[in-house]
Symmetry: C2
């Protein structure tokens, strides 16, 4: 039904807005049939005759074999080295807002560290009254909180800066996941250590071989950052920083330090590699934007999309997608079927949580004609997701990071979907 590896480069295909009429036609009923002649309902199926599988005695449950195509997938030509690489969440196949832990995308700088939690320590040093070292058991004696947050890699959609590249929403927008974290607010940990008046910035350092470090202003740390040990109810996954990661809601993914082992309080940023030569945004004049932490409002249609073509023909259908903002919630998403000539308010569904993914739907009757699908998120600050051209006008085409531009999918009369741009 779907193309599982459409990650080859696509040629840029520009569509004129006027060339597509948009898909709403007369109401065509679809979606249910009479039983006449359908053996699947007229005959007793094998699973109704025979005993199924007994209960699991000590394992960890897995998806149905029929769902084997739903998994994280890398793009070979993008990052060939598996240790300093990326794979992508299969967002085209998911629904709701929770990402199952087994399909949360990965990004490592030196591979996923394999840590024995009994030997893991978290150290606090620098401008504090008391330097402290915590075991994992120590951390579980402090007050903890639960929050659902999205984590988006700042390079998500980065390959699309200069034009359509990757023909699948898993690859254009799949460096994102959304889980419920359980962890200790940083403000409790820093209260233990006693921050000196001169302490204005905090360094977070990972225990992996990359020793990733980032500087975070004290105001953010004290506001909503967590030291998390669980995701979706269970222990963090190894590839998500087991046994401990920083959660820094709404900010770019590389700052969510995994395998967290050290917190240092200082009076200025450290200008670490990952905030100077890396994870900065090169502007047209050769200068770079730095400390561009917040992930701005963004949305994308996950189905239909190149990996989720329309197979059922014309008539009723459900369009769905995801929207999020590092600044808050998403009260509204607009959808167009004709490249922006007509916009429709999508139906927001499910819990609207701060700095979490939001799910939207738009139900309509497809007339079987070509469509140019787009979605446009509005966040609760009033910010509206920009077009890619608007982003390029401001920031040029040297960037990889912070591409939150509007995505366009072309739907053909055959229901096939392609990553395009309107010009």
């Amino acid at each position: 039904m779907t193309k599982d590896h459409p990650a080859g480069k696509t040629t840029r295909r520009a569509f004129m807005r006027g060339a597509v009429a948009g898909g709403v036609g007369t109401l065509v009923t679809g979606g249910a049939a009479k039983a006449a002649g359908d053996a699947a309902i007229l005959e007793v199926q094998p699973w109704s005759r025979e005993l199924g599988v007994g209960v699991d005695a000590s394992g960890y449950g897995m998806p149905s074999p029929h769902e084997a195509g739903v998994h994280r997938t890398p793009v070979d030509w993008l990052t060939a080295d598996p240790f300093a690489s990326i794979n992508f969440t299969p967002i085209h196949k998911l629904d709701g807002i929770i990402t199952p832990n087994g399909v949360c995308f990965e990004r490592h700088h030196s591979g996923a560290a394999q840590i024995d939690p009994a030997a893991h320590r978290l150290m606090i040093n620098g401008l504090v009254e008391r330097e402290l070292v915590f075991t994992m058991d120590d951390l579980r004696r402090l007050p903890r909180e639960n929050h659902v947050y999205f984590l988006e890699c700042t390079a998500n959609s980065g390959m699309e800066w200069r034009g359509p590249q990757l023909n699948g929403v898993q690859f254009t927008h799949g460096m994102i996941h959304n889980v419920m974290y359980t962890g200790v607010p940083l403000r409790h940990l820093l209260a233990e250590a006693g921050v000196k008046l001169s302490g204005k910035w905090v360094l977070f350092e990972g225990a992996d071989a990359a020793g990733l470090t980032r500087s975070v202003p004290m105001e953010k740390v004290m506001d909503d950052c967590l030291v998390a040990f669980a995701m979706n109810g269970e222990a963090l996954r190894v590839e998500q920083g087991y046994p401990l990661r920083l959660v820094i809601p709404g900010w770019e993914g590389n700052m969510w330090i995994k395998w967290l082992r050290r917190i240092e309080v200082g009076d200025a940023p450290w200008h670490a590699k990952e905030e100077t030569s890396k994870y900065t945004d090169l502007m047209p004049d050769g200068r770079a934007r730095r400390f561009t932490w917040v992930m701005d409002a963004k949305s994308v249609i996950t189905s239909p999309s190149p990996q989720m073509p329309i197979r059922h023909g014309k008539g009723r259908m459900v369009l769905t997608g995801l929207a999020w903002s590092g600044r808050g919630t998403i009260p509204r998403v607009d959808v167009t079927l004709d490249g922006g000539k007509n916009w429709h308010m999508a139906r927001m569904d499910g819990p609207s949580l701060d700095k979490s993914l939001h799910r939207f739907y738009y139900e309509f009757d497809w007339d079987g004609g070509e469509m140019l699908l787009q979605s446009r998120a509005h966040d609760n600050t009033g910010y509206v997701q920009p077009t890619k051209d608007a982003l390029r006008a401001l920031r040029g085409v040297n960037s990889t990071y912070h591409n939150n531009g509007i995505q366009t999918w072309h739907v053909g009369r055959d229901g096939e979907v392609e990553n395009v741009e309107i010009s």
Copy 2:
């Protein structure tokens, strides 16, 4: 650290309320140490020297090997037949409110049916204008919704009716899970079929060999029931009814028909086996309560608990647990450390969603003395979770189902925890 199979029967041990002083003493600091002499922080660990594991290319991610003890577990003496059996969610090891799909408890009457979704059909017949048959693809063309709901087996805590039996919260309270469902509201499906004015009840039938059937009044069906195809964002798990299950929020688990294949509209209940000889509540006078659908408000402390003894000694600690109500939300949970002499309001944390698990915490300094721990849930209708003795006074001791009584844990000076009752 924990006892993983404490499911052997325990002898009834009654505690006098006056015998335990309760655990709050003078503040004893705990939970962080200086680095002096701790090689785990003074020396560079192996995972900081060597490359970790590369990104996953096509698999489905699994928990750390250090978390291998976190899994569903049956109780051998309770249900020896794996096909018509039960296992239990490891709620003692979980946090937050989301249950990962891989550890959601199972209960089958004829094993978990292994269904090919391409061959699965959902039929609507009976008192309707149009009998209909839906494929899975047909259902995806109808408007869908996302909701987080708990599912509790009506036999959860059933073994505890006559006194403490199972020495672990996984076994006393682990026939529950809480996930985000994606599905089509029944009201949309029934609108397609056109319910006749005489249609007052709805039968739901499973496609497994048990062919489980239950009758549901039309009012509930039209209110909030879903035909769900996804849980926590991905397809339903096989053991949870893949590819389709009924979601009947707040009502007892056996009614959430798995492998759903048929919906029949009628004018009266069907009096099926599972609502006559089974899943009824035998009263002291020999008569049975029937159609006791709603799961009343309940709570339990998940840590400390027999499988989660206190290992860190006296001083600061976190007590945590779960609360839920089939009638709505849980605005308040009370906790006692001394068997009910003094009650403290717990801190509710995380999203408070309708008919969903709620997480509570109570942080205190343990003086190292014996404790009798209890929690007591209040739901948003004003209902307060009863004691087990109050339940017995009303309903006798012939019941297995609908035991929502207050659970007591005894904590010894050594931090070990035991399932007891206060008398």
